[in-house]
Point group: C2
Chain length 226, copies 2
Amino acid sequence: MVQKRFFGSSAEMYLKTIAELAHEREPVPVTSVADRLGISTVSASEMIHRLEDRKFVKHRPYKGVYLTAEGRRKANGVIRRQRLWECFLTNGLGIPWEHVHDFACQLEHATDPVVTEALADYLEHPATCPHGNPIPTADGEMPALEGVPLVNLMPGEKGVILRIHPVSEELVKHLDERGISPGREIEVTEIAPFNGPQSIEVGDEIHVLGREVAAHVMVQQAADTR
Amino acid sequence: MVQKRFFGSSAEMYLKTIAELAHEREPVPVTSVADRLGISTVSASEMIHRLEDRKFVKHRPYKGVYLTAEGRRKANGVIRRQRLWECFLTNGLGIPWEHVHDFACQLEHATDPVVTEALADYLEHPATCPHGNPIPTADGEMPALEGVPLVNLMPGEKGVILRIHPVSEELVKHLDERGISPGREIEVTEIAPFNGPQSIEVGDEIHVLGREVAAHVMVQQAADTR
DNA sequence: TTATTATATTAGGTCATCCTTATAATATCA
DNA sequence: TGATATTATAAGGATGACCTAATATAATAA
């Protein structure tokens, strides 16, 4: 029987999206939420009001949305489920890591807490998903995040890729095609003028990354040894 | 992003339900479908019309519903996903087999074909789910079913439990508590008068099963050696 | 064959989630 | 400060999946 959930997968997507956007900018503009979810701002606004009624978010008109403590807990729960599924899909089922994001996104809304925790046990409580992003704890805490956005590095600076913010499958695929994945060492060789794209050395190759893309790649910056 | 499916999980539940009820009686009365799904007959009727428009079922008023070839393929796809998940939840995650039914039911509607087949590979293509029910093939064929309903056995007749029709978690739990699970040998010791319940010997114990329940237990009947 | 029961349909509603179009309010920049 | 751009809200609709109550029709059993 199709069970009635006390709130639908849509609401979960909103909370997750707000949480993901929140550590780029807080408060999160409603417009960004709408864009990311591919819906109209009117609909997003509507839903955010409903989420506010249920005390999951706080909306400051013309500023943006914040998660409440409860909302953050819920959002982290969703993210936990998604990232655990990503681990399983990649490591268990052998699905290429650049594809698992969307599959996991479907599964995350259909996963009972009992299944989530059994899955975590089974996977031996991984610290991160295949993209390198930390997996929230069972009680809804997000582990502290390290690293700086790749886009902040200046020419000559080096680092190790920590994680890729999985905004979309296209982004992940784009990076994967350029050999950029967690653990790889990179060096910024050049930045084009006028806030232009970065040239990045990965292994023996040099790739050019737009700023938008590089903003979603987090690196552990190496001590500058020039 | 929440993807738009060309039809929702509800429709999948209808098809699955019709398929499950079909080998008890064909055509399947709309009332049975409604009962099983816990919805009104009006709603069921409505949805069945929609499914008929899409050529998944054929409805004969006052008789019941049949699946079309296409509908059966779809239904078997859903059942395949569910039963594969049941295998994983039981054998992989160690969730007790009497609990996995509902969890798998949630997951089945959120599972991409790519994931389904990767899962099947991972599980090494099991023939049956933990309840003993056959898993349809990737192209939507349901393997032939053996066995007779336990309720058909007469006192003195013996057999081996092949599978339990997973109608509900309660049914499975009820049977599990009485030691009735696939592979067990049983003997009918008595049938109470007036179409009453059966007494079943399992191991050293004797349990009494209502006819409704016993109708969902399929057995491989042993040659009568009295 | 008729009365009873089972099944189907019609009409009118609810709820969540989305939409477009139009207007109002605020922010920001020149 | 005033003009422009951004953000919010209001109004009206659409859709899918459900509901109840009332009525119509077919099946079945006395």
